[in-house]
Symmetry: C2
Subunit: 411 residues, 2 copies
């Protein structure tokens, strides 16, 4: 037999837009022995997690629970449960993850209508509202924080327009949840998908979602109890618009997460322990305090980047506070810089996708990774690596600029 070595991952400073470093309390939570899925102690943990998710999503919705899969599993669960084949779906696109919403909606059988903004900008909400009025979609799906370009889309007003026209508004808040405001109820969002491995700083593997009664009504219309569990007399009803996925069927999932506890999958125990602990950390810190912390370290990072002589990518007014996109200077090999950062300093930053591949670096300041030590280490290391790549930095300025920012509070 081939021998496999002991697991011994290196300790990294992870400054990407996810996955990011995980709080030791969350890591510890995953190391607890597991409970059975219908053990009353475990179902209590499920219920507590739902309550905490409602606080995170700033909602009074009845339903808020994780999908057992990575972030895009949450997006697919919501879209496949809410889109009936033939439904008209409007997707405003301003980066890679808008295209993902199109991709998933198309696979759900939707007639997809798109509108596009240049990568690095976002939409005026009024432009989206106008297009909603014009196209009368059944559902609007939009990204809140677009990590591929580092932009954040203002959502105010879109929800109201959707309600007036009886459309559902689905928001991909994978990158923003826990890092900046996501006001589900106030903004009239019908379904929201969050991510764990970004601002919540829980490992990838779960996707928290929430949805309101408007979304639930659509789901229940398509409800079908699983064969082998349902009363045979009830078989054959409501087959017409059945949800195309069993794993992602919200009507079944909400029964599993309700007091009925109708068996569906086996809940991912250790990941749920992790999510619960990550949510406890968020709520202990406080949402406002947490969002302020993200802004605070972003400002220090940006000050350092600019002092170094680098330029930011994209429209400043819609910069996503948890991701900073840096233009790779002419003549510098972006991948070589990233490689040296990782190999020599153990620091990971990200590249980007599509039209921005090779053009920008992306630095995340998310969750547990969003701290002074990480910002200062990253600036110092990036300067050293750029000097090694013969780029003329303003040597010594970056870390000082960040320290100046921090100094305002320290002194």
């Amino acid at each position: 037999m081939k021998r496999y070595r002991d697991l011994a991952p290196s300790l990294r400073t992870i400054m990407t837009p996810g996955p990011v470093e995980v709080d030791p309390r969350v890591l510890r939570a995953m190391s607890f022995p597991i409970l059975g899925q219908f053990d009353p102690e475990f179902t209590d943990i499920m219920n507590e997690t739902m309550d905490m998710l409602k606080e995170l999503f700033q909602t009074n919705n009845r339903w808020a629970f994780p999908i057992d899969g990575t972030s895009r599993s949450g997006i697919e669960a919501v879209l496949t449960s809410l889109i009936e084949p033939g439904d008209r779906v409007l997707v405003p696109i301003f980066g890679r993850f808008g295209h993902l919403l199109v991709e998933i909606s198309e696979r759900c059988g939707a007639e997809v209508i798109t509108m596009e903004q240049e990568w690095g900008t976002v939409f005026e909400p009024e432009a989206i509202v106008e297009r909603i009025r014009e196209t009368q979609p059944n559902l609007v799906a939009i990204v809140h924080g677009e990590t591929s370009t580092g932009r954040i889309q203002p959502l105010a007003g879109i929800g109201k327009a959707c309600r007036e026209l009886d459309a559902l508004l689905v928001v991909d808040a994978v990158a923003t949840i826990g890092g900046t405001e996501v006001r589900t109820d106030e903004w009239m969002l019908d379904a929201v998908i969050g991510g764990t491995q970004k601002c919540l700083s829980v490992p990838a593997g779960m996707a928290p979602i929430t949805y309101n009664e408007r979304a639930e009504a659509k789901v229940l219309k398509r409800k079908r109890i699983e064969r082998g569990l349902r009363d045979p007399a009830a078989a054959g009803t409501a087959e017409v618009a059945a949800i195309r996925s069993n794993y992602f069927d919200l009507s079944q999932l909400q029964d599993y997460w309700s007091s009925a506890r109708l068996n569906h999958h086996t809940e991912a125990t250790s990941m749920l322990y992790a999510l619960r602990e990550g949510l406890r950390l968020v709520l202990e810190e406080g949402l406002t305090e947490r969002f302020d912390r993200h802004l605070y370290h972003e400002q220090a990072l940006v000050a350092g980047i600019e002092a170094m002589g680098l330029r930011l990518f994209g429209e400043a007014s819609c910069k996503l506070p948890v991701v900073t996109c840096i233009l790779i200077p002419d003549g510098v090999d972006g991948e070589s810089v990233r490689g040296m950062l990782l190999q020599e300093f153990g620091i990971e930053i990200a590249s980007s996708f599509g039209p921005l591949k090779g053009k920008i670096w992306r630095v995340g300041t998310m969750g547990f990774s969003c701290n002074k030590k990480n910002v200062l280490l990253t600036l110092g290391a990036l300067e050293a690596v750029l000097i090694r790549h013969s780029f003329q930095v303003n040597a010594g300025k970056a870390v000082q600029a960040a320290l100046d920012m921090y100094g305002r509070d320290v002194r």
Copy 2:
């Protein structure tokens, strides 16, 4: 803010057909700090895990990797990638999880043909082969170990018939993988889905799968590169039979797991650490030795159950070695017995589904939970609880019978 208490799950003896207890080495693996998804150290771990999975599945297939979701996510990934709408799918049903295969296949748009055996029995392989010849399906989907009834379906001969008729054979080995033989190549299985939370004793949240070139050919026929990643000039090709799910699209997943590393989801880091460690434990023990251990403790459990005066459910010749189904005696409230076992002894056993609900208990002897201590404690506790429920047991006999079985090797 509402205060949430520290996570402090009770220690349980979990003797259900999953999820079962997790080896402390696996729990520890999940507590390691995470790596980024494209960190070379992490992609090495991905590659090692694929190699280990090939040993587990006893296959030389190129593809063996986990789906990021619970077991049924693996089933759905395979079926949704292999079934084109309109395909004819044959599902032999002998318990609840056969119905799940029908459920998922129907949602994939298949024309499903079923054949049913009474719960507690299995099919003669020849009967399945005959039905395959008769119905000429595109795909046959069958459960190997049916936990709802505690039966194991012999698979020999079915694969050969499928090849002769150009049908794909998909096997749900969620309950059997790592606990009893699953010979992917020798039995000519085209795709196999394993479970983590049963005989592998890794928490729920991943579903290892493998598939061969025959299955891959069907997947590649339907391949479509994700919008936002694909060359725009290639857009619009092969839209006809596109896979209906993005998350479960094996053609995209295999690109992510290949050296191309084409970005799809963010791999579930900590769960992958857990799976890798669980697989290491399996391979260190040895497959044959592990299967023998499962048989050994099953025999002791069965000896104890029978000595106590209880009767087993189902046809003995096809008993699943890792699940023992016990008929609940007349006049005994099965749920009350289960509740007392959990509350007073911290031991969890399972009930069943559908026609067997309230009729049988199910005791798992799976993976890390499959050990002498657990078998002896369970027998002793069950006896005590049954006496408390006024059932006339042969007092004192059960544990002695198990000790006698163990004694053969001990002395």
